[in-house]
Assembly symmetry: C2
Homo-oligomer: 564 residues x 2
């Protein structure tokens, strides 16, 4: 039994009930809309909102995470699946379900291997570029159903834009009217409705619930309009169509090994992104109440949720940003809210399934459009650019790679770029020659401060750990210092900012110390940290320093060398 | 005019003359032997020792580097070329020459783009694994010509070993006798001869020259024996055969674009290794006399040398470890020694060309075998393993990958492995909660020292720069500290070992500071370095700290928080 269940308190119930129901209200239209985005039939989204949610409620370490279909994962499902099956075909649905199985297996494996730490390799800069580009692709991809257009399938963003421009005369006016009306309605149901209700002095919780019903109200109105006007038959407005009544059957799909193998890279990336989105939302909500999220437990919980999705014929799921936030804000205290959501979704499916038939696709497109618009945010790009051009460049490179090629290549490009960038930074460590400040025991950079030095002994501070890629930079500096200053007889290397020294750097120090000795110069070390010293004692450096010594402080070294 | 030439002093002449001639004596047999190793006709090696050497003499920044054919580059030429042409065919020779052109162009480009720093990405551990494995492959590959065996071509080391064992009955006894005799002769010409000559009280310089003539003496004796006994015709001993008389003609070869493109990855790796070998030898010799090596100038010089190799119909060249060391030890002062080497090699080719005809291939194999044996050194592996298992693992992974697959894949595997390893190290930074030591102003790790702390304020020291991959580790620690210690109201983050903070880490600090504020805890910073502070002032962190402050020292912070 999960912790929250065994320690459940009666006063949490009302919050969980309200939270669970509000999430259900949001989830009914969103789940169908995200299914459309994933290129799958609407029931895939509804199924993804039942068993996976219950599984997470029992295993996950977050009390507030609302699991289910999310926009970016749905986009990734579509961009992976279209490479292996015709969109809309029965095989396409099977590919989406197989993806859920694979994502589940990979996440569970990652949890067992405690690989949660891997997610950290995606930097904020890369994520920001990736999310902005994905949101832009999703938004533009919804213009086709929103306006009832007929487009040829395109491989990436810019060809899609070109195709949109070319086929603009294919806009279907009745559909476009419904779509644009839905966008307007959805926008009205947010801030303007909130302002009106507040002006009417209604209680806050009523206002909060009312503004969350926006999408559901629009869906109901849209379905009624289409049904009453028989717009599907009369005008050719595209509708959701048959939604099978009843709960999903549990099934393990047949699959062929080659397809499973081909899908694996796509599944790995979906798993990566699903975990990343979930853990960051879960962390952000947990910290508000000083609770903890266990990364490897989250991997397992999310993995089992995805296996549950696969088992009930749904596509991959994750913890969504929007619904989780609403869940928390609505007063949910535990995952009982999730169980309530799942149960209400199941009842919806049982009782209302046939009513979904008349929902116009243009309205689902409007819901996706409005949902992803909140994901777009250029502020991080501008801020990171101002903070550090290199970080801004990571965002831009990822953004462009996602738009120009696809989500997978884009994320990998961003990942590689940011790793190379990090290595590049450590390649050129800040190395300062330091001198004594007045009569103090402080030693500071000779270029920044007015300090005293002496001709026969020089103190160098390196502000970086020493490893293979930057060892030569220190070697260069040491050798240049010696060739520039022929009067130097002692060099003190200040190690206060060295957090580790790898074997290549150790070898460099060894050979440099020997070369210096050959040239009549002694190398000393100062302020070596405990863990670094432990390791150096296993190497031969300390023995090979010859006359050189290891000093506790720079001042001690310079005093010993008659330089203080 | 190069610097050494404009400032040439008469007293340098005798050293340069002796150095240049000793290198020539070594180079005549080695150049033919390495040509055989590269799978090319012997004149390719001789040509590689003329114009490229002169070009380097005028441009290179090392006074002692002896450029020409080297063992590992020759092996790499062979392993790249056999993938594109039949060994021994005319096309094979064209591929080797095209490789020299490409290596030259890539190195010159790298010099223009100032990419010398890239070479640092190959760690000592990877280089050690790569060189040991390459030397082992070269040594084993020479058993076939040494014993006159007939082997099927194999793709990598272990199949080659298996083929050697299977075809052992194909050993050609007369050839084997010459080969083993040559190995014995070469070994005798080193230490034993040196001991005998020293015992005869001959002058040191005579001893030094005499021991360097070993390979040439063995070659001359071998050629005489084969010629006198007509062993090639009578016994079928494999000989070098026709060496075209005269100097190489300058030629730009015809080439097809597809082949050039296919060779590019191989050429890039050869360029990388050639530069690496040259720069490390050049650096090590320069530092003995406190001289400097300019990495980007070396790239250009080595690039133009390789273009010269391509122009004169030779394969890629590099600065050799052995000959450069001998050059320095023999008393060379400038690159005039290189020019003397090149001129003597050219005269050799003009006058002695036809005499090379009878040199048995088994003797060239013996020379390669002895030369690469000095490259094998398991000590670094053992030492790195003892110093740090991770570094030892890099060596081992590279060694095995080179043996199991090939040099190219091996080096790339080692490179990736060591980069991932480095990232892994920075992923788990050492984070310590510190407390006050006695009545001093020092704050140390509570787990290692007996220190005083207080319940409402905790001081954390992180021993690593903050970037995307490890930012979460700090976030985790901060949040865990807060959830474990509900009485904490202030957290002081000690930044003395933080050399930079990237945008992802800044964002993490921002959100963490806000989450902490939501939970009623204030984040303070202490001991922030100048360059880090400069950057933080561009971000929003300092404004968002709220009540939080930036203190110069930990003690100042703890005093302010009534915790000292």
């Amino acid at each position: 039994m999960p912790e929250w269940m065994s320690q459940y308190r009666r006063e949490w119930l009302s919050g969980d009930l309200i939270g669970g129901l509000i999430v259900t209200i949001m989830l009914i239209p969103q789940s169908m809309a995200y299914a459309m985005l994933a290129g799958a039939p609407p029931q895939y989204g509804l199924y993804a909102s039942i068993l996976p949610v219950i599984v997470y409620a029992f295993i996950g370490s977050s009390r507030y995470l609302a699991v289910g279909p999310v926009a970016i994962v749905s986009l990734m499902v579509s961009s992976t699946a279209v490479m292996h099956a015709e969109a809309g075909s029965a095989e396409y649905g099977q590919v989406a379900i197989l993806l859920a199985w694979e994502v589940g297996v990979l996440l569970v494996l990652a949890g067992l291997l405690r690989l949660g730490v891997l997610a950290n390799f995606l930097s904020h800069s890369v994520i920001s570029g990736f999310i902005n580009a994905s949101a832009l692709i999703i938004a533009v991809s919804q213009i086709e159903p929103l306006l009832g257009m007929q487009l040829a399938r395109t491989e990436s963003f810019f060809p899609m834009l070109a195709e949109l421009a070319r086929q603009f005369e294919s806009v279907h006016l009745p559909t476009a009217a419904i779509g644009i009306g839905a966008v307007a309605g959805l926008l009205m149901m947010r801030r303007p409705l909130e302002a009106v209700l507040r002006h009417m002095k209604l209680p806050e919780n009523v206002i909060s619930v009312a503004t969350k019903t926006g999408a559901l109200v629009v869906v109901i109105i849209g379905a009624l309009v289409v049904w009453l006007g028989d717009l599907s038959a009369n005008q050719g407005v595209s509708i959701v169509g048959e939604v099978p009544a009843g709960l999903p059957a549990l099934a393990i799909p047949g699959w062929d090994a080659q397809l499973a193998l081909d899908l694996l890279p796509g599944a790995a990336l979906i798993a990566f992104v699903a975990y990343l989105e979930s853990i960051s939302v879960a962390r952000s909500l947990a910290s508000k109440r000083r609770e903890r999220i266990l990364p490897n437990r989250e991997l397992t919980a999310l993995g089992l949720s995805n296996l549950a999705a696969g088992l009930t014929g749904a596509f991959p799921v994750a913890g969504g940003v929007g619904r989780s936030g609403v869940n928390y804000a609505a007063g949910s205290n535990t995952q009982l809210a999730g169980i309530i959501t799942a149960v209400s979704m199941a009842m919806c499916l049982l009782l209302l399934g046939p009513l979904f038939h008349y929902v116009p696709k243009a309205i689902l497109a409007a819901i996706v459009l409005i949902a992803v618009m909140s994901l777009m945010d250029v502020k991080p790009l501008l801020e990171s650019w101002r903070y550090n051009i290199a970080d801004g460049a990571s965002t831009l490179v990822t953004f462009l790679a996602v738009l120009l090629v696809n989500v997978e290549i884009g994320v990998l490009t961003g990942l590689m770029f940011s790793v190379v960038l990090f290595l590049w930074r450590t390649l050129h460590p800040h190395i300062a020659i330091v001198g004594r400040v007045g009569e103090t025991e402080h030693y500071r950079n000779v270029l920044r401060h007015s300090v005293r030095t002496c001709p026969h002994a020089v103190a160098l501070r390196i502000d970086e750990s020493l490893y293979f890629a930057n060892a030569h930079a220190l070697e260069e500096t040491l050798l240049r210092t010696l060739s520039d200053r022929l009067e130097v007889k002692h060099v003190v290397l200040i190690c206060s900012a060295i957090n580790f020294i790898d074997f290549s750097a150790l070898e460099m120090l060894l050979t440099t110390a020997e070369r210096m000795r050959d040239a009549g110069v002694t190398l000393h070390l100062a302020e070596v940290k405990g863990p670094v010293m432990d390791r150096l004692q296993k190497g031969r450096l300390l023995q090979r320093l010859g006359e050189g010594r290891v000093f506790l402080s720079t001042h001690e070294a310079m005093t010993f060398l008659h330089c203080a």
